[in-house]
């Protein structure tokens, strides 16, 4: 039998159902994996008691012959952006150090209701602002992957859901939650050889998820494969009256309808995604992806998304603008850090608290956001960016006249070394070139591992679908998964 720690959600579910092992054994296995992986710095808080309590409840329910939930007995990692009742939550920022939510986010509550347990809270880029997990106030997360050149230098797991990517790819947790604002689920999934899914904007409630850019933020699963992502997203998603942008629609049974036969489907290849200086390995992988989808019965068509080059600059106006507004709540009054210099008044307290609590990238984005929203510049920057966003969304609508899905690479490179890009914010921003456009348009998208580059590092392929058509995205992802035969795993060195 496969070792328990190598299993994903579906395997754990059937193993428990068949009585091969108990949920308690599963929880104990992964709790031990978490303890042994401290050097990767993936967890900010460990909650073994939570995982064990959920496992006990699952074992009891099974003994009583009750129907088990979709995630019963699966201990997951929880990105520290989700508020978890009585468990410290910081979004990897000093400004929230010591904050213990008195309530449970809707997404985590949904997962617990479905039977999942929690192994702990996962490190991430501070307030989800970053693409390499290097903006965390609590240290970098280290990827389990290493280049095959023998250098053994530490690599980024990607970001902002870097802790999630590290624990799933290192088989330290069978699955983890992520959030995606401009690619924060898909890029780390691609960098670590796992599968990550960003649903249509509004599928998952944002209630209790610490806000970065509210018109873009979406939660989603990060897991071993497409099936596990489908199971977990079903548990996470659903209407929530507490989120005004939550979609009041039933959650489809995506897992039951998985079907990798793509006969009749048209897949668009957007020519604008052929960016300059793209590594040959990624171009080659993209070609292989095209062949795999053809083999699954799909027809390939060329499409154009003419405003693609403007997506990143529009994103880096819109996201900081929303962040500057959302993060105004950190004032040293209601929760988190307070820095009150001797004799200081209220305004000085705000400024000192925010100076001490926010990291450099967070400050940079608040400053940019404040500037583009300030009197005299609002129309030139913010309104113009929102108009360009409309054009980007219309590009996708037009593409859907000739195709059902789009195939692109997930990221323009494989994982890079920690420290390699931190001194150039702009170079870091460009990492999201393939993921940001679909975020701006609110569309569902998946990253599935496609292969390895010459240095032995994973590369991902992205499928983008129409709004609410998660099923087709899952199905095309499955078609790639079945054909790519991606079985590479990082060797355990930590």
């Amino acid at each position: 039998m496969t070792e328990i720690f190598e299993m994903g959600i579906a395997d754990i579910r059937s193993g428990i159902a068949d009585g091969d092992f108990t949920a308690k054994e599963v929880a104990e296995t992964f709790i031990a994996r978490v303890s042994a992986a401290k050097s990767l710095n993936a967890f900010l808080v460990e909650t073994p008691e939570h995982a064990l309590a959920a496992a006990e409840a699952t074992d009891k329910a099974k003994a009583a012959g009750e129907t088990l939930g979709k995630m019963a007995g699966v201990p997951i990692g929880m990105k520290d952006l989700f508020c978890t009742q009585s468990v410290p939550t910081t979004a990897a920022s000093l400004i929230l150090e010591g904050f213990t939510p008195q309530y449970e986010s809707t997404v985590s509550a949904n997962l617990f209701k479905a039977g999942a347990g929690m192994l702990g809270k996962l490190n991430m880029d501070q307030f989800a602002m970053g693409s390499s997990n290097e903006t965390s106030a609590f240290g970098n997360v280290i990827s389990p992957w290493r280049r095959n050149d023998g250098g053994n230098s530490y690599l980024t797991p990607g970001g902002s859901s870097g802790g999630s990517a590290t624990v799933v790819s290192g088989r330290i947790a069978p699955a983890a939650t992520g959030t995606d604002t401009g690619g924060s689920i898909r890029q780390p999934a691609a960098f670590t050889g796992i599968t990550g899914f960003k649903p249509t904007y509004g599928r998952c409630s944002r209630w209790g998820t610490i806000a970065f850019a509210s018109s873009l933020d979406q939660a989603g699963p990060m897991a071993h494969d497409v099936r596990d992502c489908a199971i977990m997203l079903e548990a996470m998603a659903g209407f929530d009256a507490k989120d005004s942008t939550s979609l009041n629609l039933p959650v489809p049974d995506w897992e039951a309808a998985l079907n990798s036969n793509l006969a009749g489907k048209k897949i668009g290849i957007p020519k604008e995604y052929r960016v300059e200086n793209m590594p040959a390995a990624i171009d080659a992988l993209w070609q292989q992806g095209i062949e795999m989808l053809k083999d699954a019965g799909a027809t390939i068509v060329d499409v154009s998304l003419p405003h693609t080059k403007y997506a990143l600059p529009a994103y880096y106006i819109i996201a900081p603008a929303e962040a500057s507004s959302n993060l105004s709540r950190y004032d040293g009054v209601r929760y988190g850090l307070r820095d009150l210099p001797d004799g200081a008044g209220l305004q000085d307290m705000y400024a000192a608290t925010r100076e001490a609590g926010f990291g450099p990238e967070v400050k940079r984005r608040i400053m940019i956001g404040t500037y583009v929203l300030s009197a005299g510049y609002y129309d030139a920057y913010y309104t113009q960016a929102q108009k360009v966003r409309t054009l980007i969304s219309q590009d996708f609508d037009k593409a859907w006249n000739s195709c059902d899905l789009l195939l692109t690479p997930t990221a323009p490179s494989a994982a890079f070394g920690l420290g390699e890009k931190m001194d150039d914010p702009l170079a870091m921003y460009l990492n999201d070139v393939f993921t940001v456009p679909s975020s701006l348009a609110g569309l569902p998208a998946i990253s599935v591992p496609g292969g390895l580059d010459g240095k032995g590092l994973p590369l991902g392929l992205q499928i983008i679908g129409k709004a609410l058509d998660e099923q087709s995205v899952f199905n095309a992802g499955l078609a790639i998964e079945e054909r790519a035969g991606f079985v590479a795993k990082p060797e355990q060195w930590w």
């Binding site: 010591g98 213990t100 008195q102 309530y103 249509t200 904007y201 509004g202 018109s215 009256a241 005004s244 942008t245 979609l247 009041n248 405003h307 403007y310 600059p313 529009a314 880096y316 106006i317 040293g332 009054v333 209601r334 929760y335 988190g336 850090l337 307070r338 009150l340 200081a344 008044g345 209220l346 307290m349 400024a351 000192a352 925010r354 100076e355 926010f358 400050k363 940079r364 608040i366 400053m367 940019i368 404040t370 500037y371 300030s374 920057y381 309104t383 113009q384 960016a385 929102q386 108009k387 360009v388 966003r389 409309t390 054009l391 969304s393 914010p425 702009l426 701006l440 609110g442 709004a467």
Partner: protein, 95 residues
């Protein structure tokens, strides 16, 4: 347009983030680089385009005008850096 050190200080003040002279100096080229890059959006003719308001068509819902929450004062104050007599406490704001 390019921003100078005075503008950086003003943005920091609007953002309620204290910055040192050295930080202000460092922000000038950094913000100029990023803002210079986003200015390419000006090339796009948007004269006939409405700004995006919702990516997925969705109407804001109304609900019954009734109390749905409350009686949780202690929970609300539980994370306050300083709470006194059932209130958030701040430095004196009125002399």
């Amino acid at each position: 347009m390019s921003i100078d050190k005075e503008t950086v200080k003003k943005i920091a003040s609007l953002s309620r983030i204290a910055i040192t002279e050295a930080e202000a100096d460092a922000f000038v080229p950094e913000l100029n680089q990023i803002l210079g890059w986003v200015e390419q959006l000006g090339e796009v003719d948007c004269s006939k385009v409405e700004p995006m308001t919702a990516v997925i068509p969705n109407k804001l819902r109304l609900r019954e005008d009734v109390v749905t929450d409350g009686e949780i004062r202690d929970k609300i104050l539980a994370n306050a850096p300083i709470a006194e007599h059932g209130f958030f406490a701040v430095p004196k704001v009125i002399e």
